[in-house]
């Protein structure tokens, strides 16, 4: 044994052999674990008797998946990671100049988003583009906006809010009710919905001023549920679970998007299509998102934004520096809620229908997961997380080929929470502080410098 370089290889045989052994073990464990859960299903037959329905095919698929997954991990992924780690350790860490794409990432991303509808229209035609612009584009951008709004409360001010969807609901119902009952246009109601949501943000803020962490989270969760229950039970106004339908569409400076003689298509001599409205909505929500990002970035450089971040770090220190923590917290709640309200009124206008079902706790949880996954406080990270989470859901709907594997009853989107859960656990193991975990400083004397500060642990000295 003169030339032992890698002791683990020597002691356990070749990587393939080791991988085979581990994979077999994993497959056996999977079989034992899932034999009863997945392999057998209880069902009722025609005579109302409980019978066992075997699902051996499903079980076999799981076992094979576990085998292949473990094999791939041990045989390829682990050596590759070890090799890249070794390579990294050997190579001196040079602060390489960030590439063109990296430096101008946000500008390029905005440009790509602006060009997205025309490209899709050109590629898929007016009818084929609906799916991509509406389901992927608008849907994702709504969540980007919601997550950026929540980011002000959770990411910047550090106030864990589990009931953010309440403000989304307030915005949506404000637009729905005021436009139907009073005939106001979207452009008047958008700021109004924002103001109303901000008002409710302050209403929530007052009782929870003294609460922190877990306690705050529970009260905000309750607040979200209260709003939803009020929407369900105040039937005279909200029509309860039936929801409100026939909400007016948004107009472009008074030009409606319909087939009427003074509609958008007629005025511009275009073939009538619903795609114009979708493209218009896409640009509108994109603008609202950019407004959110712009306000967030600006606020972070202003005293109030800095006070939010300081509040997140240490409340006692904030007070001893003369910062009024009451107003600081309330403004965070109010401004965060305001953007939720904007997104809500947009949502109502886009759907044409709102019901309490759209504002369940799961929505809050999804928005919060986006913020956490993206890395609290980081706009880019949150946008990426929103694309991954919301786009991922939409993609699951598209994966019809899975039916060929798992049988015709398989509906991939039902597994979305399972996949989210797995993704969340993996993320927290691999990147515990989100996609973009390091906080960007707001103040520079001379130039940006790469400092070792990104290695700090949160909240540790």
């Amino acid at each position: 044994m003169a030339s032992v370089t890698n002791p683990s290889t020597v002691s356990t045989g070749s990587p393939t052999g080791k991988a085979l052994r581990e994979a077999t073990f994993t497959a056996v464990m999977t079989f034992l674990m899932f034999a009863l859960f997945i392999g057998l299903k209880t069902d009722q037959n025609m005579r109302n008797e409980l019978i066992l329905v075997p699902r051996w095919g499903m079980l076999a698929i799981l076992v094979v998946l576990a085998f292949v997954g473990r094999f791939a991990m041990v045989a390829w992924l682990q050596p590759w990671r070890a090799a890249s780690k070794a390579a990294k350790a050997e190579a001196p860490t040079v602060d390489e100049e960030a590439g063109f794409v990296k430096r101008n990432f946000s500008k390029l991303a905005i440009l790509a988003l602006v060009l997205y509808p025309p490209i899709i229209l050109a590629l898929f035609g007016a009818q084929g583009s609906l799916k991509y612009i509406d389901n992927f584009g608008i849907q994702i951008l709504i969540y980007v906006m919601l997550a950026w709004g929540l980011n002000i409360v959770v990411g910047l001010a550090g106030l864990l809010d589990l009931g953010y969807v309440a403000f989304y609901a307030v915005g949506a119902y404000s637009y729905a009710l005021l436009s139907i009952n009073f005939g106001f246009s979207f452009w008047i109601l958008l700021p109004l919905a924002g103001i109303l949501s901000a008002f409710w943000g302050i209403i929530l803020g007052f009782p929870v001023l003294r609460l922190k962490g877990d306690y705050l989270a529970i009260v905000t969760l309750a607040f979200g549920e209260i709003i939803r229950l009020v929407l369900i039970n105040w039937q005279d106004v909200t029509k309860g679970t039936f929801g409100i339908s026939g909400i007016p569409k948004i107009t472009l400076f008074g030009i409606p998007f319909d087939a009427s003689p003074n509609g958008f298509a007629k005025i511009f001599h275009l073939a009538p299509s619903s795609a114009y409205y979708k493209v218009f909505l896409f640009y509108l929500i994109l603008l609202l998102c950019l407004l959110t990002a712009f306000v967030t970035i600006r606020l972070r450089r202003l005293p109030i934004g800095r006070a939010w971040e300081a509040l997140r770090e240490d409340e006692i220190a904030c007070r001893s520096l003369g910062i009024n923590t009451v107003t600081t917290k309330l403004t965070a709640f109010a401004i965060g809620a305001m953007f939720g309200g904007f997104a809500g009124s947009f949502f109502a206008a886009r759907q044409g229908f709102v019901s309490p079902e759209s504002f369940v706790f799961l929505e809050s949880a999804v928005i919060l997961s986006i913020v956490v996954l993206g890395g609290m406080g980081s706009l880019t990270g949150i946008a990426i997380a929103a694309i991954a989470m919301v786009g991922g859901t939409e993609l699951l709907r598209e994966m019809d080929f899975l039916k060929a594997v798992f049988g015709p009853d398989f509906t991939p989107e039902l597994y979305r929470m399972l996949i989210f859960g797995l993704a969340m656990i993996t993320m927290m193991l691999v990147r515990p502080r989100g996609f973009v975990g390091s906080r960007e400083p707001t103040a520079f004397l001379f130039e940006r410098k790469n400092v070792s500060g990104s290695f700090t642990k949160e909240g540790h000295g």
């Binding site: 800095r306 971040e309 220190a317 007070r319 910062i323 906080r439 520079f444 004397l445 909240g459 000295g461």
Partner: protein, 242 residues
């Protein structure tokens, strides 16, 4: 030394629930003085400091600062009267850079004197200048203490209150900190109220000092007097003088 009283604590009693942490404390700090408060663990030193800052507020007695009763004022308004506090455990903002931490200290004047003051801080603590773009959390304990003091000074305080500035620091580093405090007092006439475990260093530095035992002041006098006092020596200085 000017004779005007800057801070006057009279008969202050502070409670945590039903437990009386301070049992009628009288303390006076005059302009331009360094006054220190020494005492054992749990004597109420930090409580007294926090009571002056209004969190928790005193149940009985009064706190007068610069002729104004601040007993019932909220903490942030007390801070706006230019009482700067470097709280126990330093409490810098760990994920903000050193520079941003200093900006937070200057929020009272809306950064008006920021450029001027930040240079002064970097002269006083050159280490902070080297580390200005580093996150507060990456600093060593001594550097964090320097940052905590510098951040407090950025508010241009009339009274600087320091809670255990030498806590957890190597003797050499705490010496640097005390030297900086002395310098501020001599050069700028800054009034300092100091809570310290390290009684020897505190007494040597201070013009006057108070000894707090179980929530009451048992002794007071000039730093030199207390240093020479056999009771103080027995209780707080045995083996501690180095």
């Amino acid at each position: 030394m000017a004779a005007d009283t800057l801070l006057k604590v009279e008969g202050v009693e502070t409670f945590y629930g039903n437990i009386r942490a301070l049992a009628g404390v009288d303390v006076e700090v005059k302009k331009g003085e360094i006054v220190s408060l020494i005492g054992a663990n749990g004597a109420g030193k930090s409580t007294l400091m926090m009571t002056i800052c209004g969190s928790p507020q005193a149940r009985h007695g009064s706190v007068i600062f610069d002729g104004q009763d601040i007993t019932r004022m909220p903490t942030h308004e007390i801070a706006r009267l230019r009482i700067a506090q470097s709280p126990e455990g330093r409490r810098i903002f760990p994920r903000m850079t050193v520079y941003e931490n200093l900006q937070m200290g200057a929020s009272l004047d809306n950064q008006k004197f920021f450029q001027e003051d930040v240079e002064k801080m970097f002269t006083l603590f050159p280490r902070l200048k080297e580390r200005q773009f580093q996150r507060g959390g990456t600093l060593s304990g001594g550097e964090q203490q320097m940052l905590a003091i510098a951040r407090a000074l950025m508010a241009r305080p009339k009274l600087l209150m320091l809670d255990e500035p030498s806590l957890g620091l190597a003797p050499l580093v705490s010496k640097q900190i005390f030297a900086a405090i002395k310098l501020l007092n001599v050069e700028q006439g800054l009034t300092v109220f100091l809570v310290e475990q390290n009684a020897f260093a505190a007494l040597k530095l201070s013009h006057r000092a108070y000894v707090l035992v179980n929530g009451s002041i048992t002794m007071s006098g000039s730093g030199a007097e207390l240093l020479a006092n056999p009771e103080v020596r027995a209780a707080y200085l045995e083996g501690g003088a180095h």
